[in-house]
Amino acid sequence: MDKVKIGTCWLDGCSGCHMSLLDIDEGIVAVLKKADIVFGPLVDAQEWPEGVDVALIEGAVSSQDDLKLALAARSRSKVVVALGDCAVTGNVPSMRNGIPVRKLLERVYVEGATERPGTDRPGVPTDGVPALLKQAEPLHSAIKVDIHVPGCPPKPDAILFVVGELLEGREPDLGSKLRFG
């Protein structure tokens, strides 16, 4: 039997959910007997590959790049899991949503910058960084999400349960197992 393909990525998040994923400790051995991790911060692939079975997506959709990656993951994956509070609710990244993007960037990169003698006047970076979207939104506002796993971060046990159920071809019933938010 072919191995199940798992892809992971983090959008606007802190990588904490990926840390929690690594925190499943020896559970990863059982997972990797049945699955390959084919995309994510832990592997080398540059493009979200075709034919992924399970996509674990951390983080809110906050920039053009986030949106592009989320759309690619959706179109090339069977099951999409919103992993953690940022993907589920917008969480901390969405706390910027009450502030217009231009004002936000000015505040951080211009007003908030310390000028050092001999350096250029600080400005809003544009090269090599993706443009921010108007608001940081939960994943399901951008793409169809099949399973939501709240938590900041979700407990390793919860992640292992979800992945385990999906590997067995069952839909994980999180119901009241998780704390919301």
Partner: protein, 235 residues
Amino acid sequence: MTEKVKVRIDGEVIAATPGQTILEVARANGKYIPALCYMEGLSAVGACRLCMVEVSGNARLLPACTTPVQEGLAVTTISPQLHSYRKIALELLFAERNHTCAVCVSSGHCELQALAQDHGITYIRYPYNFPKLAVDTTHPRYVLDHNRCILCSRCVRTCAEIEGAHVWDIAGRGIGSRLVSELQRPWGEATSCTSCGKCVQACPTGAMAEKGWGAEEMTKQRTVVSRLSTMREGA
């Protein structure tokens, strides 16, 4: 002794005192009806709509906290329809403001969060409103974070009915409604505030908190208001 009335709650016949509400009778008999704006010892206002129940002969759902019992009343407190409506009410509370549980002092001890969990909520189906709301830190000991206020008015009633100071009120209408101290004065400048902190203890979420706590750190004394009310009844 007052004449009792017989009511049926989820099929069980219960003797109740006239004047009691459905919620009071249900809770006194070990039946759970969820509620956020209700607090024992305060007047009931029917604001949160979580205690909606089915009452025989009524096409509409009725709030259990404000509906008095009467002879022969038959009440259903849980059904798939009620569950789905309560879920909607909870989700709309989350969508309306910025609760951001991960950085909230009350996370893990929050009544709204606990009810979301009880109702199997894993995400909010409605688009978030993401309003820009203020945090009032002017009081030396307490903080009011409008992002987490669900307008249950437990603080308003606690201050008016238990402390007798009536610092708080709800101003505005609909989605523009805001909790205000005195007449829109910052909390720290509200001269009628006695700094007793009972509003903070009554608050079901992290909207009102003591200063100095980090995320998940603040637990509230939920029974303080009800206890004071009971003690005064006996006086």
